[in-house]
């Protein structure tokens, strides 16, 4: 294939196809994952054992599911801080249902969680899209409200003895893939397809990249925001049921601080916190990094107290690293374009 064809408008170059800013970021991330894993495995050989790796992947499954919907929200310059509380509340209410009515089939419980989540999401969506208020404040408020309701429900019943039908939701495997991982895979494929292969999905990028231009192009940003927050609530509601099944109990602290986890994952994954760029592959890598670090700290016998500090540090490093990388890539693209223009001018 001729590389130099500076005649009139040029074809896309190979580097343009492969080294989009998003892909560059993902390549860096993947590199970090590999190097970090190797470094950790030098003193702690068990880190790279098959059983430990599969544990990391299972542990990251619920994180990936909720982060995927968080990613769509961050893409449009919004944020949903209530996901942890929605999960906790859904986990508790469904837990109480399951404990009181052991005969209820698991699918009904999942639908209950989804319905509850959709309802909580609807509250967020109506206020944010309806009153045009900043999602950061609205969901900060509902984070407190939803979490605040959990103990009131918890006090009435003992939620540690759950029917096997519930526990089975997180055990065993489908098509040879552990169930939780299978769910995460389905979500990743659906969200990935939606944001990269459909018009509506691409519009989310447009909204985040330039809201004014999006409005002039006729993209209904408010409608999109509305449905995104309902989706986020629904996903968090279902994730609450998965949490119940995975940990076998509903507690007042279930999924506490999960909003932080999802935002961290999304940011580590290279999603621009100001919207407009990012990918589902980044989300997967981000979730693996965060879970991997947690796992490594446990193997290294680091006190749990340090966990939060480490997570916070990762978030800071990810945010600043992202900004620097974005600037560098933007500069690189700009220079490459100038060089090509010169080349074309020189020939013609």
């Amino acid at each position: 294939m001729p590389q130099q064809m500076p005649e009139g408008p040029r074809r896309s170059t190979l580097s343009e196809r492969l080294l989009t800013p998003t892909r560059t970021r993902e390549a860096y991330l993947a590199g970090i994952v590999v190097v970090a894993a190797l470094l950790i495995s030098i003193p702690y050989g068990t880190f790279l054992s098959a059983s430990n790796i599969s544990e990391i992947i299972v542990d990251s499954s619920i994180i990936i599911i909720v982060s995927a919907s968080q990613a769509m929200i961050v893409l449009t310059k919004q944020i949903d801080l209530s996901v942890g509380s929605v999960m906790g509340l859904s986990c508790m209410i469904v837990g109480v249902t399951a404990a009181n009515h052991p005969g209820v089939p698991a699918i009904v419980l999942v639908l209950e969680g989804a319905g509850l989540g959709a309802l909580f999401g609807l509250v967020n969506a109506s206020i944010i899209a309806g009153l045009q208020l900043p999602s950061m404040i609205v969901t900060l408020a509902t984070l407190e409200i939803y979490r605040g309701v959990v103990p009131a429900i918890a006090s009435s019943v003992f939620t540690y003895q759950l029917p096997n039908s519930v526990l089975a939701l997180a055990r065993g495997s489908i098509l040879g893939i552990p169930r939780l991982e299978f769910y995460a895979l389905v979500v990743v494929i659906l969200v990935g397809y939606f944001i990269s292969q459909t018009r509506t999905g691409r519009e989310l990028y447009a909204i985040g990249s330039n809201p004014d231009a999006a409005a002039l192009t006729g993209i209904p940003a408010r409608k999109r925001t509305f449905w995104l927050f309902i989706t986020s609530g629904t996903v968090a509601g279902i994730a609450g049921v998965l949490w119940l099944a995975f940990y076998g109990a509903a507690e007042t602290t279930s999924a506490l601080g999960f909003e932080f986890t999802t935002v961290t994952v999304v940011v580590i994954g290279g999603m621009n916190i100001w919207g407009g760029s990012g990918s589902i592959r980044g989300v997967i890598l981000g979730a693996l990094i965060l879970t991997g670090v947690t796992n490594a700290l446990v193997i290294a016998n680091v006190s749990v107290n340090w966990q939060q500090a480490v997570n916070g540090t990762i978030l800071l490093v990810a945010v600043s690293g992202n900004v620097m990388l974005t600037k560098r890539t933007a500069r690189r693209l700009m220079l490459a374009q100038r060089a090509r223009e010169k080349q074309i001018a020189a020939v013609s």
Binding site: P9, P21, Q197, R199, R202, A206, N210, A214, I344
Partner: protein, 539 residues
């Protein structure tokens, strides 16, 4: 449908946009030949904002296959007209017609559906996305499964880009493009959506000479393909070069629509400025004192360069120019906003360095910003508090504000400037535009400045208050203050200034005494036509 209706498609597709009270247009006849119905026209559209008439019964006609210049001074109504034709504003009276049919546009999207595309000075693009997606956003070609066909989107984009001679590819990220490239993306978008009317607002202002040439040949090709192009520009040379007809607006009224052939620059200038100079404040002769502040070769990267002039005590210096002349930037640089890349400022003969508005205040400089709603007033707080803001120290003792001092100060100014309000504790936003402007004046005069920079002090205020503000400005000069008056209204500039300096695209293009200045001379300088003569005179 009748055969001789070229607009059936638009009419059918967006029938809801066509008003119920549709009146068939009168056929335009000229001699033997029946002229084509204009692609876009207006019929006596009017628009006013808060009692100020921005447009009065303006009828314009833009035809297919024609590049049509729309010119006028700042505030002549060009941008209001553009916004009405692109669905941003709805007219108060009159109609917009697309291919002879009255249309009701409620949003820019309606305009797009009717085939009207607008390209702004600063194109509205999605920087994070590539060129292809910018062009096809919401209209991505899709498979029957609703999946986007990337093959098709990239192929179509490459063909489009080739046809307009773009030097980038479908996959180039838009953030990597310069303004000319982003403009091309917008043009490609307009072409791909089958736009029949292209409104271009100052499209050449950020382009290099070569890029302008390329743009013009593209415009001509689009014209030959039957697109109606409206070209809004202050550059008369470019208008003479690329357009075929010209429509001149002045003070919200249509002055003339004429072919460009046989038109001269002087005639255009005359049409843009020719208005009677009656009913304006005339100031008394100035008692000019010593030089207070000197600007020597001030430069600011990308904005202005080699700006040199003095301000003297008791003198009003008018700073004239059109949009993009960068007059505000010069005034703000003197007020410590924006970094300087070269040149010096001296005050009372001593070289000074002004790095912030606080520093400017210490040298006795006050600046009345152009946009008082955003920069000049804290809207929700009271008139009295607004007036005390720049000089809080003088109203406080031991860090505690004295409400009594604040209120007394406000009452003094209300009296002196005849500000009409219910109480000084009223929120600033409740006042009328003219009275708000007076509050801003009071706010800065309270700092007892020696140098007063006024940026469009009478924009958007009614005639009566305008005269009062003019009286105040004259009084400031009589008190011995050095006044710099930025104004886009030629009559105001001519009536108020002892000396007039004219800028164009960041350079001084004319200096005139009160006696020398006529509307034509100042406008010629603002359009860059008089530079050679001026340079000769300076030697």
């Amino acid at each position: 449908m009748a055969i001789n209706e070229p607009h059936t498609e638009t009419g059918n597709q967006h029938a809801h946009l066509v008003a119920d009270n549709f009146v068939p247009p009168e056929p335009v006849t000229s001699g033997k030949q029946i002229l084509a119905v204009p692609a876009l026209s207006t019929d006596k559209v009017s628009k006013s904002f808060g009692g100020i008439n921005a447009l009065m019964e303006v009828s314009v006609h833009f035809r297919s296959g024609e590049i049509h210049a729309l010119i006028g001074e700042n505030g002549a109504g060009k941008s209001t007209l553009t916004k009405i034709m692109t669905g941003v504003y709805e007219p108060d009276g009159g109609h917009v017609l697309v291919k002879g049919q009255v249309v009701n546009m409620r949003s820019p999207l309606d305009a797009q559906h009717l085939g009207i595309a607008a390209i702004y000075q600063d194109p509205l693009t999605f920087p994070d996305l590539n060129v292809a997606e910018n062009i096809f956003m919401t209209r991505h070609p899709i498979h029957s499964s609703h999946q986007i066909s990337w093959q098709s989107i990239y192929n179509q984009t490459d063909i489009l880009l080739r046809s307009i001679g773009a030097k980038f590819s479908a996959r180039t990220q838009v953030s990597a493009l310069n303004p000319a490239g982003r403009q091309l993306v917008e043009i490609a978008k307009a072409i791909s959506s089958n736009a029949t009317v292209l409104l271009m607002d100052e499209p050449t202002s950020s382009l290099s000479q070569g890029e302008v040439t390329d743009l013009f040949s593209l415009m001509r090709r689009l014209r030959d393909n039957g697109v109606a192009i409206v070209f809004i520009s202050h550059r008369l040379d470019e208008i003479m070069e690329v357009t075929e007809r010209v429509t001149v607006l002045r003070d919200g009224k249509l002055i003339e629509e004429a072919p460009i052939a046989g038109m001269t620059r002087d005639r255009l200038v005359q049409m843009m400025v020719g208005r009677p100079l009656s009913a304006l404040f005339t100031k008394a002769a100035a008692h000019v004192g010593d030089v207070v502040v000197s600007l020597n070769n001030l430069s600011q990267e990308g904005n202005f360069h080699n700006i040199t002039f003095d301000l003297r005590a008791g003198e009003i210096v008018g700073l004239g120019g059109l949009v993009g002349a960068k007059r505000t930037e010069v005034a703000q640089a003197l007020f410590g906003i924006g970094r300087l890349d070269g040149g010096t400022i001296t005050i009372d003969g001593k070289r000074v360095s002004i790095r912030s508005p606080g520093g400017a205040l210490r040298y006795g400089i006050a600046y009345l910003p152009e946009d008082r709603l955003v920069q000049g007033l804290v809207q929700p707080i009271s008139v009295a508090d607004n007036m005390s803001l720049p000089a809080l120290k003088s109203f406080s003792s031991h860090s505690w504000m004295s409400q009594r001092k604040v209120v007394n100060n406000a009452l003094t100014w209300v009296d002196r400037l005849h500000i009409r309000l219910a109480r000084v504790s009223q929120a600033a936003r409740e006042l009328s535009g003219g009275n708000q402007q007076k509050v801003v004046l009071a706010k800065w005069l309270g700092t007892r400045p020696r140098i007063v920079l006024l940026d469009e002090p009478t924009r958007g205020i009614d005639v009566g208050t305008k005269a009062e503000v003019h009286g105040l400005i004259a009084a400031l000069a009589e008190e011995g203050k050095a006044v710099l008056l930025i104004s886009s209204e030629l009559p105001e500039l001519l009536a108020m200034s002892d000396r007039i300096i004219v800028m164009r695209e960041g350079e001084i293009t004319g200096r005139f005494t009160r006696e020398e200045a006529t509307p034509e001379i100042v406008m010629r300088a603002a359009l860059g036509l008089a530079r050679e003569e001026q340079l000769e005179r300076a030697d």
